[in-house]
């Protein structure tokens, strides 16, 4: 006794939406990388070179084959500054703001 196709319609719809979600996220990532595939398995060297690429081109994932860097690159630098918190990037509660104010001197009581 074959299953009537009406019984499988919900599964078709679910599968279609999984596909739309996955390909949609993939498309957005591809677009956000400047129409390039993601980088992965990055080590410290890759990260360092990607930071250097950003300083040279001004855009994320930008590439340039110029032989000589522009003048401002000689003194350009990008430094990531951070402070220790056991709950980093988890929430932005008053406790963390007080910790931030205690550490950096910039009190934020908003």
């Amino acid at each position: 006794m074959p299953i009537p196709f009406e019984g499988l319609l919900p599964y078709a719809i679910m599968a279609a939406f999984f596909g739309v979600a996955g390909h949609g996220v993939g498309f957005v990532r591809y677009w956000d990388n400047g129409w390039k595939n993601d980088r992965f398995d990055l080590d410290a060297w890759d990260e360092k070179m990607m930071n250097r690429d950003f300083l040279l081109t001004g855009v994320s994932r930008g590439q340039s084959q110029e032989a000589i860097a522009p003048e401002h690159f000689k003194t350009a630098q990008k430094e990531l500054q951070s402070y220790y918190t056991p709950y980093r990037n988890q929430f932005f509660k008053l406790r963390e703001r007080m910790y931030r104010g205690y550490v950096t001197g910039n009190w934020d009581f908003s």
Binding site: K36, M49, Q65, A67
Partner: protein
């Protein structure tokens, strides 16, 4: 003149604020507000305000003296309202260290050109590494050798851009699409290597291996890239442009 008016206003405001915070008490004011001195930092310039209370019975009457002190040297461009600035280091290199142009190529073109830079600049690179090993790292002692290395790499990149611009671009764009894996871009690499050998007489040679993998026509794993298709289209276009 505008600055002076501003400063006088700021001084009045500060005096008013202070008097609001502390209710009027003639003894206290006489003891604390007789003479006051504080600084205002405005428009790249540091001003010092001195306030004297002339009539001790009237707390509102002040004489504001604005005095230009000096440009603040280390904070020359600091402005409280700025939201963008050029990231320029004001502490330049000492004059006994000559300028050198930095390498402007980014990661993918550098990886693509790396074997040719190695082939051309081997003596300079070896010299630099020897200097480093002899001088315990040689951060300050090997600047001269380092400048030679930089200049040589810039020269190679200039030559590549001059003679093999399109092939260079073809290869490093393939690398950029394939997570900088050389094994996924052999077709474009072959085109690029041929162009470089024809024009610059530089040959890619991987040091210290039994087999030069880029010469293998049928490697076991070639990756899933569309490098072959793109390279064929590139060659076709190039032939067409030659005929035309």
């Amino acid at each position: 003149m505008g600055n002076l008016v501003n400063i006088a206003g700021a001084g009045l405001y500060a005096g008013l604020r202070k008097s609001l915070h502390q209710p009027y008490d003639s003894n206290k004011i006489n003891s604390e507000f007789d003479w006051e001195k504080f600084s205002i930092y405005e428009g790249n310039t540091n001003y010092t305000l001195e306030r004297h209370k002339v009539n001790s019975s009237d707390p509102i009457t002040f004489i504001s003296v604005a005095r230009y002190i000096s440009k603040m040297a280390p904070l020359d461009n600091v402005d409280i309202s700025r939201f963008e600035w050029e990231n320029v280091d004001k502490n330049l290199l000492p004059s006994n260290i000559p300028e050198v142009d930095e390498v402007g190529a980014t990661s993918a073109p550098l990886l693509s050109a790396s074997y040719f830079i190695g082939a051309k600049c081997k003596p300079y690179n070896d010299d630099f590494m020897m200097c480093k090993s002899e001088n315990n790292g040689g951060t300050l002692d090997c600047l001269k050798e380092g400048r030679r290395v930089t200049r040589c790499a810039v020269n190679v990149l200039q030559d590549l851009n001059k003679y093999c611009f399109d092939e260079f671009k073809l290869h490093y764009e393939c690398l950029e699409q394939n997570n900088h894996r050389l094994g996924h871009c052999r077709y474009s690499e072959e085109v690029f290597n041929k162009c470089v050998f024809a024009n610059l007489k530089l040959e890619k040679k991987i040091p210290g291996v039994a087999e030069q993998i880029q010469l293998n026509k049928s490697p076991i794993f070639q990756g899933g890239s569309n490098d072959k298709k793109i390279t064929e289209a590139f060659l076709l276009k190039k032939e067409e442009s030659k005929e035309a």
